[in-house]
Symmetry: C4
Subunit: 210 residues, 4 copies
């Protein structure tokens, strides 16, 4: 039995290492298709010509970064892994590995349809990640003990946040207004307050139990 | 002696980490040669033009994913590693690293010969993996204690499953009939039943021993 | 509480693994855009034609190597990680992942503006790294116990050293004079002396405490 | 003091992980520049046209694989790491990362000069690896306790073997004679006998000590 528990913890460990490697490669490959322009005069002209590519790079780097942080957070709540989690995590990584392609689409052809496809891809990654968490927490019994309400909160955050933040970013980038940034600030601030309240409550529960 | 055992466990650990990194890179590179078409109108046209590439990507991603799961599973049954396992594992990784090339072949030229080469490559990876397992379990004495019948079962599963599933997938994709998918469902279902029976038997043996 | 400490140590561990993977990919990708010339006669001609590319490769490899060593050193002084460190570390990695692009700029167009952009990028990586260390040591309480003066020394070294050494290298490469190399030798020598003095003092403090 | 020992072991651990990642990326990138020919008829024609590329791939994959095995072996004899080892290991990795470029040279232009450059690169990697081992074993005091003669034997093996085996391979590939393969068989057989004798002697020493 103990041997089995050890193996399942090892399984989770290897799953996380593999995911980390895919994250690291996806984030580093974002820049690989960016090449300097053939002709340019001075630094300002260089940045002017590369503006779209660098902007798309920054957005995609932020997206992969947020997903990595989110992955690290949710998987730190898990105790074990199983074959179904392997599969759902692979679906998420398979979508993530398409982000360099989505980024290329964004800079080559910054029209509405490109943005639509890109936001759709980001949203799909979020949904796949949420499916993995949902399975692990509600069906697979893979998570550490935690209240059902917190599991649902994590599910919603994982499913909706990336698509929402990505959409708000494009709202600001395209309309040249601050409303998108303002929305992001509100979302981040609100979540930070909720996180603090939950941590305080959890600490209170722990104290009461001790 | 204990120092030696520790070293052999370390050896296995490093072998697994190295393999995981190669898996992660191979799976992420599958998408790197996919570029958006130069001209497209609307999302439907974009997906229409990229259909073949995305289909090949999905198939190859599934292949690498299945091999990763299979590698994780078989190597979790090992206790130690040695130089021969290093070599056989490298042969498997060397074939796996050719999958991005095989995928390109598939989408550029989806004729019968391409499919033949692709399925041949997938089968070769499976055979190399099976050779590694067979050596580790039967000759190298590297596996945890397990019944000979189970070792043979794992060997057959590792050797035949990927090529079989890959062939069945192409049967369905090419003939536009559900027979391939049906075959996959039957194989997966049958293996799942066998796995359960073996786990139940192993648990019974453990209980009897205790 | 112990569970929490364990989690924060795990967090740091995963942050370091992820960073290592990005470092490894960035350093290996430096060579990927280098291709042999189409026509060449004999080894001397080959190296003559590839001289600029190989030189840029050596410089960039040294830069990433120095950053890796620096990252390994500073993060070995940390005990825990948190979300802010995740973010600052990601900014650093995001700039680092642009180095293959900067290297291409350098070899394709070795004019003053290219060198300026390249040194600027190297300096920006150093500043982002310094910001991560500064936050961890002074605000986040993430480092092991150490004197404030040492924290500041590490901060300055991390922030200024890479940009300085990179500038000195280009001084020598461009002016074909040894002054840049001499400057590097002086800086490395001076830091080595300071490091030794600090280690001796730390040892004295430890002995006094024991 | 114990804290310091722990840190130095951690240092070695991170050095090995980083090296493994670079090995994994270099070995996987070997295949990335291989693309299927534009026109081909049937499987035999495809393999005929890709013969040179696949041959170069096999040779380079074997080279990186042998270096990985060699790196794993020598570094498993180390107990600690320091800054000098970091530097020497980075030089080795920097040369290794040029192997995809060397491989391209080999298949594009399989003349004597290409082979000369390629074998030179392989030999340089071996020498850099030997320098790292030599420093660690003789000057840095980083290795586990072992007889001086064994240290020298490892040094010679690491320094000379890869270049020798690579040269012998090309002897056979170019002259279409079996002499190169025969030489490799003799070298591998001889080393295997020496390894066995040394292991037996070490076991005898251990028994005598106990």
């Amino acid at each position: 039995m103990t041997d089995n528990t050890h193996k399942e913890a090892q399984h989770l460990h290897r799953l996380i290492l593999f995911s980390d490697a895919v994250f690291a490669i996806a984030i580093t490959l974002l820049a690989i298709e960016i090449h300097p322009p053939e002709h340019w005069r001075g630094v300002a002209d260089l940045f002017g010509q590369m503006q779209h590519k660098l902007m798309a790079y920054v957005v995609s780097f932020a997206v992969v970064g947020i997903y990595w942080v989110s992955h690290r957070r949710t998987y730190s709540r898990l105790r074990r892994a199983d074959g179904v989690l392997d599969g759902l995590n692979l679906v998420m990584l398979g979508l993530l590995a398409l982000l360099p392609l989505g980024t290329e689409l964004l800079w080559e052809n910054g029209n509405a349809a490109s943005v639509f496809v890109y936001v759709g891809l980001v949203t799909a990654i979020g949904l796949a990640h949420a499916a993995a968490w949902g399975y692990a927490a509600f069906f697979g019994g893979l998570s550490e003990p935690m209240p059902a309400l917190e599991k649902i909160y994590v599910l919603l955050r994982v499913a909706l946040l990336p698509g929402l933040m990505c959409s708000l970013t494009f709202v600001s980038l395209i309309t040249h207004t601050p409303w998108g940034w303002l929305g992001i600030a509100l979302v981040v601030g609100g979540l930070s307050v909720i996180n603090r309240l939950m941590a305080r409550k959890a600490a209170a529960v722990q104290t009461a139990e001790a």
